[in-house]
Structure formats: C-alpha cells, structure tokens
Amino acid sequence: MSSYNSLAAPGTSASPRSFLERTGLDGQLTVFGGRWYWSLFVLVFGAAATFPIYGSVFTALNFTSFLINVPLALGLALLWGYCGVLSFGQVAFFGIGGYAYGVLAINWGLGAATVGAAVCALGLTALAAAAFGYFLFYGRVSAWIIPVLTLVLTLMLETFLGQTAGLEWRIGDAQLGGFNGMTNIPSITVGPFSFDGFSLPLFYLVLALVALTLAGLRMLANSHFGHVSMAIQEDQERAELLGYDIRRYQLTIFVIAGLLAGLSGILYASWGNFIQPTSVGLLASTFPVLWVAVSGRRSLTSVAIGTVALSALSDTLAVYSGELAFVVMGAILLFGMMAAPNGMVITLLRGIARLSRARK
C-alpha cells in the first residue's frame, strides 16, 4: 500500500508507470495509512459493530445519532481541507436532505417507497448544491466571501422554514410545521427492517455508511482528482495553467460535500422521525466547522473520530444544560485553535503514531 516508487538509478528512462503516484486507499494525501492503520480500522469498526452484543443496546442506539454527523463532517473536511473552500452552511444541505426526505416519505407512504424517497432526497440535495455552487464558482466569487454566502444560505433557509407554521404550508400530506418542524416522518424501511432510532438496523446502516464514506473519500483524496484539488487549494492560477478548469473541480467537490450533508440529514430524519428549522440554524451551522477545525481538516480519519467524540461530549453536557454545552464547545474550539492549530485529534494521533514507532 505504499505510495510510489522512485527510479533506482539516474539515466534510466522514466517510464510513466514507475514514476507517477500510485493511487488508492492509501497515499501521500491521506495522513495515516499502512498496515497498522487498516488493522486499527477493522478493529475499531469491528468493536463498534459487536458493541450491542457485549455492551448495551441503549448506548449503541445513542451512538447512532453521533455517527449520523460523520458524513456531514467528512464532506466539509473534503471541501475545506482538500479544496480550500470553507462552507459555513453545510447544514443547509443537511436540512434540504432531511426535509426533502420527510416530504417525499410522508407522501409516498411506508415500505419500499421510503427507499425511493431517500434516493430522491439525495438527488434533490445534489441538485441544490450544484445550483448554489454554480453561482459561487462560475461567478468567480472570492474565496473569503464563500463562508459568508453559505452562512446566509442556511440562515435564509431557517427563516423561511420557521414561518411555515400555517396550514397552507403543506406539500401533499406533509405539513412543514414552522418552528415546531416536520413530524411523523416515516423511517426508511426495507422488508422487515425499520431504520429508526429505537432499533439496531439504523446503527448498522450508519456504521457501514461511515466506513464506506471514509474509505471512499480516502480514495478520492489520493486520486488524480484529489491531487488537482490540492493544487487548486495551494495555487489557483498555477493549477489553471496546468490545464485544469478549477471551477469544475471546486463545483464537483462542493456537490459531493452537499450530498454527504444531505445523507446525514436523511439519516437524521429517519432516526428521529422529525426535522426542524434549528437543524439549519446558526448554532447548528457552527458545529460542522467546529468538528472539522478541532479534529484537523486535512485528516479524514481525525475528523471522523473527532466528530463522534465531540457530538458525544456536547450531547452529554446538554443533559445537564444546553447553554453549558455551547460554552464548553466554544472553549474547546478556542483552546484547540491555540494549542493545536492543525487540529487536536490529528496532533494526538500523530503523537501516538510517533510513540509507537519509537518503541519499535
């Protein structure tokens, strides 16, 4: 799984295959990798999958809601860490996914139709991300203003959804519900399995999706596409003068990140059977940025770990006091940015990796 070969002797002809980067699950653009990484990967996901057997089902179900945030966070890590575009409004696509799924699932009814609703909701989210991203990138909007524009997008969405309390705000049988949100959304159902918040199928589905997303994004990051994105992040003009339409790359990654946010939103709606405007509000919009910044935006693995840990922490704190949770999360962000500007989780993981290497 090593990343490349160099040519042994000078003067030998550089054949294309031997010189260039080998791509795959491991490579130069993913921070961690190798035998140890994948052993731990299998171990961690194996331990999580068997947790309901040796641990508690209740904890596993709780854990589902933390895992649901991971695709959303990984999408932002790809966008921000690998393409240099900071979106402050990824939750807009979380909300679009969740609401679209809600409307479709309520109208189309139970059973296999919910799968169709989920797939269509993903499609709609991608469409929304593509439309918004098109104006951002093809309009050649300056990079520094993108966080503001994406934040405005999500706040507008929140304001709009918040005023949909009246009975006239319905799509078919689905009542948008204003600030109370949309309720009675059916969970995704396949045959005898209902992917809801009260049973294990959703836990396994989300766990599998997280593993797949992590592996898939690692492959994308190490691919030629990922390298070009990195080049765009480093030096846009340089990348363009190597023959790349940088806007197309940025838009593609923006759509992938939007899709992943939408996936989280759909899973969330299936988990809790509801979705509300606060999901796309100001506080909600800061969380993905916080998870990714504190974890380390250039490391997908760190973001996956950090997102689960921070979600669990804020959930635990919220049991005592909602305000306390926000204060502590804010403090962690501040401390994290000062103590480990590259991210706390990645710094920690690197330290552990270095220690284990030193011991050998």
């Binding site: 040519l7 030998t12 010189f19 260039l20 980067e21």
Partner: protein, 234 residues
C-alpha cells in the same frame, strides 16, 4: 503556416500601454528569444498568450484558430504552456506528486518523461519538491510545463539564479525540445545564455516589437544599445 500568431494585439492598463499593437509569429518547433529592457511588456506578452489577461483589441491564433477568448486552461489543453519566472511548484508535495498533478488524467506524457530523465529528476521522485536545489526546482517546473505534451512552451527567465553549468544545461535542454518539435519562447536577460540558444531574437520595447533578427545583428544595433543603456542609466 505559423503555429502561434499575434495580430495587432493591444492591451493598456490605465494610461500604460503594455502591448501596443504586437504582431508576432512563431513556427512549429521554432525557438525564439524575447528580450527588452524592464517594463518593455515581456511578461504581459506571455500573460496575453496564456489568457491571464485579455487583449483590448487584436487577436491571438494557435494553429490558425482564434484563441483570444479562450480561458487559460483551454489554451493549455490546446498545447500552450508556461514556466513561471519564480518557480511555482508545490513545495510540500514530492517531485512525483508535482508531476502527477501536471499530467492530465495522471498519465505522464512521453516528452515529460524524457525531460525528467534528461534533467535527472527521476531519482528525486520521492523527495519534497521544496527540498530540491534552486536549479532543480526550475527544471521540475519545466518538466511540469511538458505535462500536457505542449506544442509551444513559454519560459520566463528560466535561468535566473542558476549556476553557469545549470544555465548551459538548460540551454541545451531547450534546444533539444526544438528537436522534438516543441517550440519555445524564452524571455532572458542573460546575453550569454541568449547567445547559447542560437535562436532568432525579438526585441520588445514600450509594448512594441522593436527589432527582430539574429542575436549578432541585435547586439550590433546601436538603437538597441541605446534603449538598454537608457533604461539602465536613465
């Protein structure tokens, strides 16, 4: 027919006319030196060809088709590429990764592979590009400019800061590019290097083509001595 042709290209920045009706023509595989005092419009000339700035009037043609309105990346895809004056490689990435990025679809072009071999960069594949010597960084960028298997390469002062040996090797390299059918336009201040390239030379002055001829003719021309001295002492 000429490979690259500029017809009456004009571009002004406010009151400063950086390109004042430039007519220029380059044949396939030809190499050409571009000289001129500071502010003559040499870098603007390159930026116009690459599409980093658009002409106010006039047109630019590649292989007979008008590329004046094409985006920079399209021009690169059509076979024009450029090496920056100060290297713009990706210093934290390895030499192999830099070449990977510079190769469309991740496939190393034959001419880029030849260049890496010729400039002995292949053995440094796994090293971060920022750790290479200054000259090697320039060479890496030249190889990156070959990634798209170009028809013509623009090089902005390729030997700035190089040792005499490295300069000599660079001149040799550019000549061999011509043998492989790749045209080159080279901006250079170092007259020794220009002589070594043995190429027709175009002199730019105040955004205009001032003279065109062999380097021997150019060096004998009293008008050219005057614009250079005027620039240096005025």
């Amino acid at each position: 027919m000429s490979l690259l042709e500029l017809k009456a290209v004009r571009r002004a920045f406010g009151g400063i006319v950086a390109a004042d009706g430039i007519d220029f023509s380059l044949a396939a595989g030809e190499r050409r030196c571009l000289i001129g005092p500071n502010g003559a419009g040499k870098s603007t000339f390159f930026k116009l060809i690459m599409g980093l700035i658009k002409p106010d009037s006039g047109s630019i043609h590649l292989d007979g088709s008008d590329i004046s309105r094409d985006e920079p990346f399209r021009r690169v895809q059509r076979g024009v590429s450029m090496k920056y004056q100060t290297t713009r490689i990706f210093p934290t990435l390895t030499v192999a990764q830099n070449m990977f990025i510079a190769s469309p679809g991740g496939k190393l072009s034959e001419v880029a592979a030849w260049g890496l071999d010729r400039l002995e960069l292949a053995r440094n594949a796994a090293r971060p590009a920022g750790e290479l010597s200054y000259g090697q960084q320039h060479w890496l960028e030249m190889c990156m400019a070959l990634g798209n298997a170009p028809r013509v390469v623009l090089m902005d002062e390729p030997t700035a800061g190089m040792t005499p040996q490295e300069s000599q090797r660079t001149a040799q390299f550019i000549k061999e590019l011509g043998d492989r059918g790749i045209a080159a336009i080279v901006i250079e201040h170092d007259m020794g290097f220009v002589r070594g390239l043995e190429a027709p030379t175009t002199v730019l002055h105040q955004g205009r083509v001032f003279r065109h001829g062999s380097i021997a003719e150019i060096e004998r021309d009293p008008d050219i001595q005057r614009i250079y001295l005027g620039d240096a002492h005025g």
